[in-house]
Every structure is written in structure tokens, then in C-alpha cells.
Symmetry: D2
Subunit: 326 residues, 4 copies
């Protein structure tokens, strides 16, 4: 099955990956990690949840931490261009027999909740509370100095289907890994906002969230974070990196939050806004696709993810990835 | 006159700033500057012209150098989403009584040549020859390691009119400088691709090209360029910087090519894809709008620019900018 | 007068520039600057003074702030190899008819106070209280993340004499500026610890302290400091830079503390430990000696300095430096 | 056996680690690696050997490549302060019954060849041909932009003895690893020039050269090198890193040259010039001593080294290091 042709005229306009909610066991422990170490700013809090934004963001939240007894991810949030896109999205999901309904969400003015074919909960909105810009308040920068949310990456039990569905919604593939034997997609990176991806799917037991990624200005922010985490009690939370990806060409680091959710710190991918931007194909057997250079990913990186609240996990149809023993 | 409300539904889809042609006196002298020092790659050449691209670009050219006896800039090139956008653009210009016709341009499959109300020559295309990606051929990187074209900046005799016209074409204002006394725009930054700008206008004798800007990955690329230029005979070509702009928050350097054309090396502005992204207003009297920190711009930076081939220059309607004595 | 031949066998062993005391008007205002912005750590305080060290230092203090009604610098502090060096230093000063006596200084076990021929107060010690290392406590790093004191730079009314005296004490010239017309030294950089300098002298009304310099790991620490200072009320305290010096090849920034004392943030000079390391000569007329690239220094940088407590200032014998109008 | 007390008054003055010769199979293959990739400059060549220096060095060579059929390292070169130090060194070695004689070496004016107690060939000199400085010829910088040789690291069959011998020669321990069970030294870092080390010893079959290290200005030079090596055919030559050492606090990368000799690219250790600089003790069981953060070292890094020409290798007295499975 080849990479789907881009759908250049989707019936609605999704702008970008926007936010995700994590259920966490201890709000204060999580706050210390996300604020003091990663450098997010608190924009709202109650006894039950904390909203966070990165330094360049003007929307109210890109991470929401909610107190809960079990780790889970909530819906993946996407911002659309205008309110009418929400209605067209609702029609789109309903025409496919997929759940879609409007729900109330704090700080978001009208939120469409839907579920994709593999079971990932999604939410779409056009308007979220906007906050004063703080990107030049350098006195507020902390830790890794995260600038903005960049993308989501999910384990999918059927990447061909996932890529086809998001492609139909107007996401365009920028890079992909093909399993040469079966001719099927092993992984795909799809974007809306003009970078390498807003969402990616990798073959595996899913749906599960592999990671959420935030953008930093330079590789030195990642090195600063490594210095900080390795000497403030977070050494075991450093999972993979630093390194450069073959796919995306980004300089990266993967860390785990106190509940085990994975956050990628990401810098320097490339621009993909051209309508005729050609996807790059990688062979599943090429280890440089994941790691242009750097240590091989550990087993945990291939196997562990965060379940989505209420979404049962299925085994993938393609056989497990041959992990290069690290 | 306030900043125009964004036109969220323009009748055509312009994707991004794409390329510009410079008339140069000596192709070999220019090649040494653009290739060995800035790090562009030659993609085509004849005895009369050299085409260049930056390391991340897949389109054939972002700079074209053409041998000529006098310095001048050719049309500002923009890439549109698809061929039909070109026809709708032609209609748009003609409805306003502005010149627009299809022309032959090498490596571009169908090119609409038009002129904006202030006289700037423009060219639009949907398809340009695409080249294999080289962003991971690190053995080819040189000098400043330019990654991609980012934007154009022009002197305009009437920024209110210029901003209104480009706004009508779907460009959205991200930041602007207001002359408080007259209530008029002194300068405006407008984008299509989701950064701070694809084009900007500043009050001054125009139309003239103030600079073309290229993106680099980190501030250290700019420091490397300064080390290189200051010790290889290009010291006098360093005009302004390094510094950080208030407007755009980018880390920047301005250099002059051997003919005097200005090139900005630009890094780390911010993402502006949201439809409700709020423009930032700056007061003309605030020196931090141009220079958050760094030396004041020299007089040449305020006064000198490159004329567009065949475009007469008019004095601006607003009085000359009060240059802060450096 | 040529550069003096290095004295490879001085009668005592001075190890490095160590510390300086500043008289400041408001200890809390100074603390905010030195700790929150530059990143020094408090190691001792009373109502009258605060002792500070940089992140890599194990000696008790490299800056001492003392409350006083007038700005002034105290003695320049140097660490010697062992206690017996202090006695030999005392003999050396006394043989020249220069003041030298042992004094009590907190945290220093035995301190020789002396005065050099141009009137600069000096203090020498072998043992200062040693503190636990904190260079890997990355949770403590702040602001510019200063790592260690690097050098002092002083205005001198007679650089030839100053260089000759320090040369006799075993300091070795690494670079110097010669006034071609008179054949005299305009400025000289002299080291003990194997970098470009522990102390430098520039022709001017003196003795006055031009600046104390601290080492940072990379140019990006300086860029971070510029972002921070320009948005937290310290914009006017940025005096010169960033840039690269011709002399020393260091990447630099000069800032003024709340009392006006000048601090250089300094990175990446070179190693000079070889006994036959050849000094580099610069011509006074070469502007790249001060600024390989970067904006010219402002007038204040050429003219202003901090007087040493109790040391009268004399006009220099050489005519005033021809300041390149910035 | 505790760390030896520093010998503050050795009978001669060794200044720094200076150079090493490698026997290589193919001079052109080695030249491509050392010059185009690491960025050294050729300073001399014949059909049989190539001399190289780094960008900041004024001595003629820090690496000499000599054509040979088998990989081996020649003598470790050290620069002394003055000629008379060579005579005192000769006496020192002879008094211990160790070989020491003057030999002819190109570009070195008088060379003492000696052998340390564990069999490492050493050479000492005071004067080597000096070359014009090129540290500001930025047009010559290539690849990793190596600035200067920093240190040697050797496998030693008896680190206690090695440390005691070099300590007697005036090298001072800055950090060390103790095997808690036996109370013996597992590894020791010793310096002369004021950094963390000029030479280090680690328990293992020896004597063998573990690596020679060169200094670079910032971690980004190392990231540039990784990008370059991973895309120009040198991926398999990247052995370990990037990471930060616990010991030395340096940012590092280990690469293997075409013959398998290991080169460390090293940045940002700290200053150790104080006579009372306290050594830091690490426990052999603390994995952060080698890697503050970063992937564990691979088995090859623990086991492989370069034999010294003519020096038989003995098994270490302490049991093999418990390698943490990577």
C-alpha cells in the first residue's frame, strides 16, 4: 500500500496540534517537573488540575495535568481555523459512523469531541482563551525553556489505516517507514502546520500515546536540560538521547514525566509548507531513520506508551519491530 | 488607520516567499560570497546567471544572480498552492487595474508576473523544478549554513496602502509599528507560512528592497559567519548586528553582498499559524522594537536599499524616521 | 621600548587573579544583579558585606560587595602558590620602596597587602577558605552562569612601566598594542595561569579598574544574559558587545553593575602555558585589535572606570586614544 | 592506598601534554579523517609521515601520522619549560633505573626519550618549531574545528603505581576512582597545565593508549561533527557520546580514526591551577562518574586501546571492571 496522495482540499481546516491532558497521581510532583525543569508556565489551577503553556504560546494551555489514580492521556487537542470547521468536522466523523459531539471544556469556547477509527479520543476547537504574550519576558524562562507544543506521536495497530484517515482530514505525509516485505507502512509522519509533523503513527499495540513533543530554540537547551535532570533527581527520567533523528532531522531528547508519560524535546526540523513537498521514504531496516547518530533507543522506548482514557488497546497487525539490541 | 482585519478567506492561496533575482556585476565574486561564505548551493548556471538554493530547500532556486552592469533586484517570487491560484491571482490584479501576465521563467512551469500598487514586481508560480533533498548531506554545509529563505523586507512610500493590499491577498499582520502622532502605520510584518513574516514594509523612499532573509538553525551559525567574514576580507560587508529584534524576537545579522544588496541571517522567530493570532503593536518611539539588545542600526541600514528593476522610487508620505544616533 | 622579555624565574609564584572588592551603595540591589542576573552564589554575608563565588570556584570569594557611600574598588586579589611566596613578595615590594604589610582579611589565612608602582592596591594570599564544589549542582545555575573569575583590566598612566613591573613578578605578555609613533606600549595583556591574561593595562587616566572579567562556557550564555538584561530593567547596563576581540580572540560582553562597575563576560580565549609562547603585536591604528567584529566601543567604555580606594588618579603620559566615533 | 599528596616542588617543570605519533596504514585515508573531518592542519609531510596541528597551536605538531603496516602509538610527548629541565628529567629516570636518552626528532630541537615504569614510551622537549598563529584565520577552520591537544588517557596495569610516579614528576591528581573493596585506585586524572588532566590512567591490560583528546570551543562543535561523520561514511567510527562526564564535567565524544585509534573531542572542563585544589573522589560503583548523562559506554570503549610501539602489555592486578551492560 503506497503512501496516500495528499488531500489538498479537505472539507475543513485543521491548523495544528494544540494540547493534551495527562492524568497524574500527584499534582505537585508533576508541577515541579513541568515548570521548574521543563520550563512551562502555570496558566490556571484548581485543586484538581493545572493548566500549562510554553513560553511562545498565547493559547491558554498546551498541557493539562489532572489528578487521578491511574496514568492516562486524555484527548489529543487540535486547533481549527474557524468555528464552521467544527461543524464540518462533526459531519465528517458522523458520516463515517464515528463518535462526535460538542462538549464543554474550560477555557475553550466550543469543543468538538470525536474518536478516530483506531479509538484515539480527539478534541477540536477554534477559540481558546488567549493570554498576553510572554516570549520576551526572559526573566520567566526556566529549565529547558520549552517554546511551543510541536506534535503528538502514537502507537497504532494499523498505520496504513491511520495515515489514510488523517490524510483524508488534510494531514500530509512528510516522511514514512515502509516494511519492505509486506509493502505496508510501518510508521508515518503527517503535518498540518508546515513542519515535519503534527501527528505521527508507529506500528505497535495501540492506540497509545508514545509522546508529546515541545520545541526548543537550540540543541544547547537540551544539553542544559540534561545537566539539570542528571543532577536534580531526574536521571532515571532521561530515556533516550540526545541525538539527531534521520526522520525529521531534528535534534531530540526523550524524557519521562513523574508518571511515566514521555515528552520529547525537539529542535530544528524543517519547513514543509509546499503543496508538492515530497515525502521521504525510509526502509524499516535502516537504523539511521530513527537515529542519524546517537545511542540506539532502549527497549522501553519501543514498548511503553500511555493509554488513552477509555480506549482499549489492540495488538498490531504487523509483527513486532526488530529492536536493535541497545 | 488601524491594522487591517485579517482576510481569512482570500480568493487564492499564496504559500510563502520563494525567491528573488539580483543583478550583479561579477558572477564569480558573488558566487564566492553566496556559496563559500553564506553556504548556498549552486543548482544551475550559464555564463549569464547562477541559481542557488539553501540546504533545506527542494525548489530549484531561492536566489538567482544575473550578470548586469547595474545593481537591481528582480521580481519578488512567491509560491502558490496550485496552478488555479495563478489564474485567480491574475483576475485579482487585473480587477484592480494592475499589470499581470504569464511569462516564461527557467525552472518554473508557469509564472504569473504582476506589479503591486507601489510598483514592486512580483512573480507567482505553483511548480518549480524540485531537486533531491540535501539537508542531511552535512559534508556540503559551508559558512553560515543557510537553511531556507525566510522573508523579504521592502521600503514602502505608503505602508498603510501596502499592508492593506497584501492583507487583501491573505497575508496577515503579526507585528506593526505605529506612528502615534499621525495614527498611521510606520512598518508592518505580514506572513503566509506561519512565521512572523513573508514580507514586511517600512516607511521610506520606495519601492526598494531592504533585504532578503535566510533562516539558520542557531545563533552560533551567525557567530561563525561573523568570525569568517571578519577575517576573510568581508569585514566591511557586516552592516548591523548581531542582536535580537524586539519585533519578531529573532536573533539577526545584516550583511551586504559584493554589490551592496542586503541579506539578513535570521533565527528563532515564532509560530503564527493561529487564525486568531493577535498582532503586536510597537510604538515608533520605542527603540527596543528594532533592537531588543544590540548596537543601534547604522545610518546606511535606514537609508540604503536595492531598487527594483524598472520601478521608479517615490518619497514616502510620512516624514523621515527619527534615526537614533548610533 | 620593546615588550619586556619574560622573566621565567621570578622569585615567587603567583598563581592567578583571585578576587576584588567593590564598594556599593545598596547591597540588595547589587545582590540582585550579581546573583539573579550574572549567576554568582552567596558564600557569606553580614549587614555590611556579601561574599560571592562563581559556579566553578572553590575558594570562598571572587567578588566581595561592601556597603559604602561612594563607588570604589578595593585591592586586586591574587592567589600565590604557597605561604613562603608571601614573604618573598613582601621582600620584593620593600626592596623597591613600595608599601607591603600583612593584614587580616576574613576567610583568608594570611594576606599580604601591597601597592604597585602606579598605586594599585594589591593583596596576595596562599590560603583562602575552601568550599565544597558545586559545578555539577546544575539546579543552582542562574542567569549568565558565570564559571570563574578570569582577569582584571586597568587604566594605567604608564603602560610601559606597569608591564615591566608585572613582568618582573613573572607575568608574561601575550598580546600588546604599540603606539607606532612613540614606539611605546599602549596596552598589554599579561598572564600567570595560562590564558591570555590575569591582568591587562591600557593607557589612560589611572590607576583605575576598567573591568573584572568572568568566564562562561559558551557564547550562548552571553546571548541568554543579553535577553535577560534587556527585558528585566538592565538594558542601560549593557555597555558594549556582544563581539569578538581581536586581542585574546574571546567572545565578550561588557555590562555595568548597579554602581557602574564594569564586568566583562568572557569566553573562549586560548592557552598560553608554553614558556616560549610568542606575544602578538597589534598596531594602535588597527580597529580589529579591540573588535574583530561587533559594534565599536562607546565613549564611556574608553573613558569610565572605577577608582581604587585611596589611590589618586594621574593623567597618562601618552596622548588620549583616538576614539573611533561609534 | 590513598591518593598521593601532590609533589609541589618537583625537580623539573613539565608544562603540558604535547603530541603523539600514530602508525597508520594509509596516510591519505588518515589525512581525510584528521583534516577534513576533525579539522587539523597539515604542517609537514613526506611520503612517510604527515604532521598536524590544531587551530590554536603554535608548536609544529600535536599529531604525527607515520605510515606503517601495523597500528601502534609512538611516545607520548610532553613539553617542558626549558632545556635544563630535560637534563634533570634524564637524571630522574636514570636514578630509577629507567631508560632515558636524547634522540633526534624532526622539528624538535632536543628530545629526551624515556620509558615510564609501566613501559609507556615518553618524549620530552623544550623547543619545537613554532609556526605563525592561525587561530583567527577562520577561513581555514573545518569539521570539528579542533583547537588544541588536551590530554592522554592510558590503560594501566597498576594505577596506584602510575599515579605515584607521575605525581612524583609534579602531576597533580584532580579526580580519581577508588575501588572501595580493595582501597586501591581504579583510575586517576593528573594535570600539569591547569585543567583536569594532561594524562589519566585507568585500570586495564596495559600499557595501552586509550585515547588522545582535543579541545573544542563548544558542545555545538561536537554536534556538528556528529552530523558530519554520520553522513559522510564515518558512522561506525562514532564510538561513544555525546555526553557529559561526571569526572571532569566535560562535554565529550569519542571517535575512532580509520586505524581504530580513539580520539576524544572534549570541551568545558574546569580550572585546577590552585596548589590546594582538592581532588574529587568517585566510587567505582557510581555510574555517573563516567557518564553524568548519556548512553553507557559500549564494551569496545572499556576493552580496546592502542598498544605502544615496543611496549608489552600486561594484565591488570585488579579484577576487570564490572561493565554495565549498555
Amino acid at each position: 500500500m503506497p503512501v496516500p496522495k495528499p488531500n489538498l482540499h479537505p472539507p475543513f481546516h485543521i491548523v495544528r496540534a494544540s494540547h493534551v491532558e495527562f492524568q497524574v497521581k500527584d499534582l505537585e510532583v508533576s508541577r515541579a517537573f513541568y515548570c521548574d525543569t521543563l520550563g512551562l508556565q502555570v496558566t490556571g489551577e484548581s485543586g484538581e488540575q493545572i493548566s500549562l503553556r510554553a513560553m511562545e504560546e498565547r493559547g491558554h494551555h498546551s498541557i493539562v495535568l489532572r489528578r487521578a489514580s491511574e496514568r492516562a492521556a486524555g484527548a489529543l487537542g487540535f486547533k481549527v481555523f474557524e468555528h464552521s470547521d467544527l461543524d464540518r468536522l462533526k459531519d465528517f466523523f458522523e458520516a463515517k459512523g464515528l463518535p462526535a459531539c460538542f462538549v464543554e471544556r474550560p477555557y475553550q469556547h466550543r469543543t468538538l469531541r470525536a474518536t478516530d477509527p483506531q479509538g484515539i479520543p480527539l478534541e477540536f476547537y477554534a477559540k481558546m482563551d488567549r493570554l498576553p504574550h510572554i516570549h520576551q519576558k526572559y526573566g520567566l524562562y526556566r529549565g529547558a525553556k520549552l517554546l511551543r507544543i510541536d506534535h503528538f506521536n502514537c502507537f497504532s495497530p494499523n498505520v496504513d489505516q491511520a495515515a489514510a484517515f488523517y490524510n483524508e482530514m488534510g494531514f500530509r505525509v512528510t516522511e514514512y517507514t515502509e516494511d519492505e516485505e509486506s509493502g505496508r507502512l510501518w510508521a508515518a509522519w503527517l503535518h498540518r502546520k508546515g513542519g515535519v509533523h503534527d501527528i505521527a503513527f508507529t506500528n505497535g499495540a495501540g492506540p497509545r500515546l508514545h509522546h508529546v513533543a515541545f520545541w526548543v530554540a537550540t540543541p544547547l537547551n537540551i544539553i542544559d536540560l540534561l545537566d539539570l535532570m542528571s543532577t536534580t533527581g531526574y536521571l532515571a527520567n532521561i530515556e533516550r538521547g540526545p541525538g539527531r533523528h534521520g526522520i525529521s532531522n531534528a535534534f531530540f531528547l526523550y524524557v519521562r514525566d513523574p508518571d511515566g508519560n514521555r515528552v520529547e524535546i525537539y529542535s530544528s526540523d524543517y519547513q514543509t509548507v509546499d503543496a508538492d513537498h515530497e515525502p521521504i521514504r525510509w526502509d524499516l531496516k535502516d537504523p539511521q531513520r530513527q537515529t542519524l547518530w546517537g545511542a540506539p533507543a532502549p527497549r522501553s522506548w519501543f514498548e511503553e506508551g500511555t493509554v488513552f482514557e477509555g480506549a482499549p488497546v489492540r495488538e498490531p497487525e504487523l509483527k513486532a519491530q526488530p529492536i536493535v539490541a541497545p
